[in-house]
């Protein structure tokens, strides 16, 4: 296996001298076995292993079970449990006002695919640098078991009957909105979740990971495509994803042509080891085709679906000074009295 930073996880502390406990959140109040808890664990592990200072992270969410989860990881990071479907706008404002912070957004399928679809699309359109996680279970949990907009057509729920509508594929939406990092994963595949999280946290732009995260209470029957059993049986990873820090040599025992390596903006690398088929993550149309095909093939396709690092981030478009806007002081923020006098001459 590669010496890729995962090793440090077995040590007591990371590069910052912090232990895993320093990345802990409050005890979860979600159901036992909820996919979201598994994702929270991987967020903590990824941030710990990446040695991200927790004080430099902001974690945001909307409303719903998924959106409760930021409370359950990284208590040393400022968090904001915002409004239903409106986390993207809060994240946009926070990110533009302090470009030095690492922004993690956690949303759900109800929060993103229904009430929040507009803000989701516009967040991607602006390419606000952040990690946007969708904990997707196809059902409204906190309001006790209604269909969400990602529920499959024909899906059955105890109190709702049969869903008559086609699902919204959030990875497809992200592709259409020109998102530069689009991935799908499965809470039942924690290793892949963690590697994708690490890659996304090193991506300069909006990174979307749509994680199928089973709801053990309302939508975990075997026939549901959002259940554990279905996911375990049908998961089809595009590749074996590994994130590698810039200073590590890749030591992999593999045949040439079987891996693809992508350098990220901070010189860390993504290593994609070929599994069943050839796949080029830089081809947006191919990515759309892939999603279309996987939808019909009754598989849970996972992995990095699309990567494009050539798009300007919102900060860059806005041509901001390096110092975070939120830290600017009066000497910079308030023009002089002389300037005011000069401006007023135009009104005289």
């Amino acid at each position: 296996m590669a010496n890729n930073g995962n090793e440090r996880s077995s040590q007591k502390i990371n590069e910052l001298g912090l232990s895993k406990a320093d990345y802990k959140g409050r005890p979860t109040t979600l159901c036992q076995g909820c996919g979201h808890n598994s994702i929270s664990s991987q967020i903590m592990a990824a941030c710990y292993e990446l040695s991200i200072p927790p004080e430099k992270v902001i974690k945001l969410s909307g409303i719903g079970c998924s959106s409760k989860s930021p409370t359950y990881f990284m208590s040393r990071s400022h968090g904001f449990n915002t409004l239903h479907g409106r986390m993207p706008s809060i994240a946009t404002g926070a990110s533009i006002a302090n470009r030095s912070l690492k922004t993690i957004g956690v949303s759900g399928d109800g929060d993103t695919a229904s009430i929040g679809i507009g803000q989701f699309i516009h967040l991607l359109r602006r390419n606000v640098p952040m990690l946007y996680i969708i904990e997707n279970n196809g059902v409204y949990g906190l309001t006790k078991g209604q269909f969400s907009a990602t529920a499959d057509k024909g899906q059955k729920l105890k109190k709702m009957g049969v869903n008559p509508f086609m699902p919204i594929d959030l990875c497809m939406e992200a592709l259409i909105a020109n998102c530069g990092f689009v991935a799908r994963s499965f809470a039942g595949d924690p290793k892949q979740v963690k590697e994708l999280l690490k890659s996304a946290l090193n991506f300069n732009g909006t990174a979307v990971i749509d994680i199928i995260s089973p709801c053990v209470t309302f939508n975990n029957r075997d026939e549901s495509t959002k259940s554990y059993s279905w996911g375990l049986k049908h998961e089809y990873p595009l590749h074996d994803v590994t994130w590698v820090p810039s200073y590590d040599e890749i030591e992999m025992d593999i045949e040439p042509g079987e891996i693809m390596e992508v350098e990220l903006h901070n010189e860390s690398r993504l290593v994609l080891k070929k599994l069943g088929r050839d796949y080029d993550t830089s081809d947006r149309l191919a990515a759309m085709q892939l999603l279309e095909d996987s939808c019909c093939a009754e598989i849970l396709l996972t992995g990095l679906i699309y990567l494009n690092q050539d798009q300007e981030t919102f900060q860059s478009v806005e041509n901001l000074v390096e110092e975070p806007l939120a830290r600017l002081k009066q000497d910079v923020l308030r023009p002089s009295e002389e300037v005011l006098e000069e401006v007023m001459t135009h009104f005289r």
Binding site: R26, I90, H122, L325, R334
Partner: protein, 616 residues
């Protein structure tokens, strides 16, 4: 100016016209929108302003791009009364479709300059008609086809310059300002103005009494709209994130930010921006971005009007309850619903005060002049950060988009107040931190800014019930304690808000309470009332919650008329709610039809109400 010259002119006038009326008239230009008449109107207003004559310019425009009726009203008054008037003294009639309707608003003895393509009406023998051969004049100037309509509008500028004795050099200077020194445009427009003026000199025999005369000018005063003043105020308040969504009549506020910020707030070395102005996808996102930015410690604002306020409701409640500093400008327009999008109103007093569900209540500043738009523009940020709450600023279309004469903007006399913010060093000393603990007893609990590098700094901001450590709580006692602290905080904030402006007259028996853009109409109404033997006291509210001065004012009056531009008397209702013991002393007088109130209406409304109360 020599007195003898005036006398000569007066003598000459007597032969043709009644005694001259100097610096006192209302001129209405009736045209269609999109025809470029704004340049002409602004040139007239600026020229009059620079002649030292009190003047205002009001645009009554349709929600349309091109071709619908629009009226521009220029009020000139030596005594400084620049409020709206119901009738006009001079009319420039360019729009055939509204000609008769426009004429109906012309006073007896008034003047109608009209495009000679319109047929002179026969039903108004009591007014003076000056037909202007606009088409022939345009032909003579011969501008390019695309400029023809614009240049045509300069014809009435030329004619008015001549018949009203406006200094043509001031018209030129006004155009220089307007065109930013673009000589070709200035020359072309001036050619038309001069041609029309000389045509008038040679062809019109002046039969009307109206004219202007230079007055001593206060060089400090400004001619400016409230939205520009608000934007500059915000810039002096250090705005660093402004997110907005286009809406009349608030757009020009954000556009003024976009216009001034690059010059005023770019890093001198790198040219990079110390601000971000973001056109959001809707008003929900606009306020959301402002809240996100305010949460991480930036000075953040949004600007909107009624429909946007409706959309912002849920976020306004969140910002109030989660205690995030932001500034929200509401440049009010006529509702309900889309209403009259280009007409003024003061109908958002109650909606904004209680914007959000549950026990939400907001702190509001209400500027009444462009100077106050500037002052509240920066002060709002200090208040928002000091009290960790949204600060709403209620302006309206009349104040925001029309040209007012204003006292100069005052450079902020206070340093920026970022409120109670704990740094890593202070946290280290304290050794513990609870976000919502009222350590000072004033309801304002110190906050930490995300990114503060200390393990104790973080807390979880939420719209859900929380204890003093910001941890989710459904406990009744936690809820009670938090709400009580919030109310304590509001009381603390009340003490720091702008106090009302009170003006008294000797022997006043009645009081008037008003707010915002109605100030000029109220001031004029008081002069009229006083001249008719009814002196009044006047209090102009500048903030909600009210200062103790407001209660004191009402207490000292026998009766107080609360005048406002909405139907139900929203400020009146708030006063009754706040001071139930004084509820019977306040009487509501309202007018809400899209047009700024006139002094005449206010006078009549007060006198009628007085009669009624004495008749009882």
């Amino acid at each position: 100016m020599g007195k003898s010259k005036i006398k000569q002119e007066e003598a000459a006038d007597k032969k043709r016209a009644p005694s001259p009326i100097v610096n006192d008239f209302t001129l209405v230009v009736a045209t269609v929108n999109g025809s470029g008449s704004q340049t002409s109107n602004l040139a007239l207003v600026r020229a009059l302003f620079r002649m030292g004559i009190p003047v205002s310019g009001r645009n009554l425009f349709p929600s349309n791009i091109k071709g619908l009726p629009t009226w521009y009203t220029i009020r000139v008054n030596a005594n400084g009364h620049t409020a709206n008037k119901r009738m006009c003294d001079l009319l420039v009639a360019i729009n055939m479709t509204t000609f008769h309707e426009d004429l109906a608003k012309l006073k007896q003895g008034g003047v109608c300059c009209y495009d000679d393509r319109l047929a002179e009406p026969t039903d108004r023998q009591d007014v003076i008609f000056y037909p202007i051969p606009i088409r022939a004049l345009v032909k003579e100037v011969n501008p390019s086809k695309e400029l023809r309509e614009y240049i045509a509008n300069m014809a009435y500028v030329g004619v008015l310059t001549e018949i009203l004795a406006i200094d043509i050099d001031e018209i030129r200077r006004a155009l220089e300002t307007h065109f930013g020194g673009r000589e070709k445009s200035i020359a072309l427009n001036m050619r038309m103005i001069e041609l029309a003026a000389s045509w008038a000199r040679e062809n019109l025999s002046k039969r009307d009494p109206y004219r202007v005369e230079r007055m001593p000018r206060d060089e400090e005063r400004l001619l400016v709209d409230g939205n520009t003043a608000a934007a500059l105020g915000a810039i002096y308040g250090g705005v660093s994130v402004a997110s907005w969504y286009p809406i009349t009549p608030a757009s020009s506020l954000a556009e003024a930010l976009e216009y001034y910020l690059p010059n005023l707030r770019s890093d001198p070395e790198t040219g990079k921006a110390t601000y971000a102005v973001i056109q959001a996808e809707d008003e929900i996102a606009a306020i959301g971005m402002a809240i996100g930015a305010g949460w991480v410690g930036a000075r953040a604002m949004t600007s909107t009007s009624g429909p946007g306020i409706s959309l912002m409701s849920e976020f306004a409640g969140l910002a109030f309850f989660a205690e995030i500093p932001i500034v929200i400008w509401d440049v009010q327009r006529m509702g309900p619903s889309t209403g009259l999008p280009t007409r003024t109103s003061q109908g958002d007093v109650l909606p904004v005060r209680f914007l959000g569900h549950g026990d939400t209540r907001h702190t509001i500043l209400i500027p009444g002049t462009p100077q106050e738009c500037f002052e509240f523009g920066w002060r709002a940020f200090d208040l928002a950060e000091r009290y960790q709450t949204p600060i709403f600023v209620l302006s309206d279309l009349d104040l925001g988009m029309n040209l007012w004469i204003s006292e100069p903007f005052q450079f902020p006399d206070e340093a920026m107040d970022r409120g109670k913010v704990l740094t890593a060093e202070v946290l280290e000393e304290l050794g513990e931190y609870a976000r919502y603990r009222d350590v000072d007893g004033d309801g304002v609990a110190p906050r930490t800014i995300p990114g503060t590098e200390h393990p104790l700094a973080a807390f979880f901001t939420r719209g859900t019930g929380h204890d003093e450590s910001a941890i989710y709580s459904e406990k009744a006692e936690d809820w009670d304690a938090n709400i009580q602290r919030l109310w304590r905080k509001l009381e603390t904030a009340r003490q720091a808000l702008p106090t009302p402006i009170t003006q008294r007259m000797d022997d006043a028996r009645i009081g008037i309470i008003a707010f915002g853009s109605t100030d000029p109409a109220i001031l004029e109404a008081r002069d009229i009332l006083s001249s008719r033997g009814t002196p009044t006291d006047y209090l102009r509210i500048r903030a909600i919650p009210f200062s103790e001065d407001v209660a004191q004012f009402i207490r000292n009056q026998q009766i107080v008329y609360v005048i406002e531009i909405n139907t139900d008397g929203q400020m009146h209702a708030l006063l009754q709610l706040e001071y139930p013991e004084l509820a019977t002393k306040v009487v509501s007088l309202t007018k809400n039809n899209g047009v700024p109130i006139s002094a005449d209406w206010a006078v009549e409304a007060i006198l009628e109400a007085e009669e009624e109360s004495h008749g009882e």
